[in-house]
Amino acid sequence: MNFFETIKLSFTTILANRLRSFLTILGIVIGVTSVILLISLVSGLKSYITSQIQGLGSNLIFVIPGRIGGARSPGGVQANRLTLQDATNLKNKLSGEAEVSAVVQRNSTLKYANKTDKGASVFGVQANYPKLISIKMLEGRFFSISEDSAGRKIAVIGISVQNTLFPGQSIKGKKIDIAGSKYEVIGLFDKRGSIFGIDQDNSVFIPLSSAQRQFGIDKLNTIYISTMKSEDVKTIQSKTENILKKKLSEDEFTVQTQEQTLSTISQITGVLTIALGGIAAISLIVGGIGIMNIMLVSVTERTREIGLRKALGARNIDIRNQFLIEALTLSCLGGVIGIILGFLLSIIAGNFITTTVPFWSVALSFGFSMIVGVIFGVAPAIRAARLDPIQALRYE
């Protein structure tokens, strides 16, 4: 009997016990579905964050307070010592090679008329901010250097702020309340999306000096540096480090390029993929045990059939292959159903968050369910092949 006929025979047997076969492969179905779905969520997240970071701008270098990736002193977080003076210093030293822009950030409640927007991000930024970060104005304008240094109470808002406070209305003549002070809205930014569930469009951009006065802060959250030429990124990064080292100690700041940030993200999602995929893979093994269980039952139930087949000339290897292929057919069937379900669920999840099903996750989970079928099918198949034909024929 050739391979395809044996598969056909397996299907006949599987269909003869529909409910039982369905319950048997359920474990594999759930396992493969969750592998596909979880991996699609993580890789969707990764590609989304990557596109967001790449979308920030080009040739970007970030300076942030504290140390990332290095050894942290016991006791944890150091005090932030990054100031506007550092940013100005960098701006002077790197002038002609790169654009430097300082950022502070606070969360605050926004009010307009009787509407409130809780938990909006308020960014204090400098006038050159739009030169570094690629973002489009939908309406109005950004503020100028003189408006920034004068500490004017003016604001550029994100699209979610508009939707919450005055949906559908123009920004013209609107004055919003930020942490108790009135700010005139002069511009509206285009949609940017969200990262890790944080809506980036629920943001307000006000002059840095205004923000420092408003919130009483003199430390910076980030300094953005954008090099003029892309091949300069590495050189500017080490220059920046050297400049900052003159005033700050090495563990008080981190200078990271866009690429390094992307590789950090990639590491995090890699660990997430392994952890979630691993948990899902455990259910595949549980599913394999279910298949083994039912194959052992099947061998016992069909003892007479095995005896008969042997009497009619089946070799041990014929019997072994028949049962092994039956286990394999069960697990592959579960794998295929799981892949289809996983695809469908990730398409549904795609309505809410970005999901992508990478080909390798399909190949991996299908391959894994095949291996599970073989591993857990071998023992029952060998048991069937070793049955003594006389005893098997007499079995009641």
Binding site: M1, L312, G313, R315, N316, I390
Partner: protein
């Protein structure tokens, strides 16, 4: 040349180290091609052991068994499976048809292990089913057939590989006397076409249809 030749065949079942049971004692037996042999014995007499050894499902503890002049005593399992497939057709007391499987597929079953294509298998099976007069039951499942019909399907299955020998173990044991008579008549008809038939039974009126009868008692051929 003898088709089947037993020389001093013994079969001892070792239940425990000190407990053993000798099912066959010094059996010497020759069966010629074209014979119709009935083996009569009470239950426990060793007749089933004898037919299992003839059918190559079991091996003698000592002595030798030549099938068509070839010693099978030391053949490996795969060789025995091939000989069972090509030289021997089994007919059982309880028919042993696969449930939920059509007459056609039941009869075609041994041909799977002879390496025939699906088309050839079905062609040969149809021919055999016609010979036992069940062409109109081609797609029936065993539970839709009477006992006599089921046994005829089993005989068609035994014949489909065109074996030299038909081994029947109490073929009429589960049938009423009318169907039982028909089955024996079918064996006689097959014997006339040249098949060698060895039939176990404990009923004298079934055995009398055979050309030759041997009696077995306590593992020995008594006459």
């Amino acid at each position: 040349m003898n088709l089947i030749h037993f020389i001093n065949v013994n079969k001892i079942y070792q239940a425990a180290e000190t407990v053993s049971f000798q099912a066959l004692k010094n059996i010497n037996l020759s069966v010629q091609k074209g014979e119709f042999l009935a083996i009569i014995g009470a239950s426990g007499s060793g007749k089933s052991t004898l037919i299992n050894i003839i059918g190559l499902l079991d091996r003698p503890t000592s002595g030798s068994y030549n099938l068509e002049g070839q010693d099978t005593t030391n053949s490996n399992q795969d060789t025995l499976a091939k000989l069972r497939n090509q030289k021997i057709g089994f007919v059982f007391q309880n028919f042993n048809l696969l449930p939920r499987t059509s007459t056609l597929q039941n009869v075609a079953l041994p041909l799977i292990y002879s390496g025939f294509s699906k088309k050839e298998r079905e062609q040969k099976a149809q021919q055999m089913i016609a010979e036992v007069g069940l062409s109109e039951k081609l797609n029936s499942h065993p539970n839709q057939l009477s006992g006599g019909q089921q046994q005829r399907v089993a005989i068609a299955r035994a014949l489909v590989t065109n074996p030299e020998i038909i081994l029947a173990d109490e073929p009429t044991g589960n049938l009423d006397s009318k169907s039982g008579g028909e089955i024996v008549e079918l064996f006689q008809k097959l014997n006339k076409t040249g098949k060698t038939i060895i039939m176990i039974t404990h009923e004298d009126n079934i055995a009398k249809h055979a050309k030759k009868i041997i009696h077995i008692k306590d593992g020995e051929i008594v006459r």
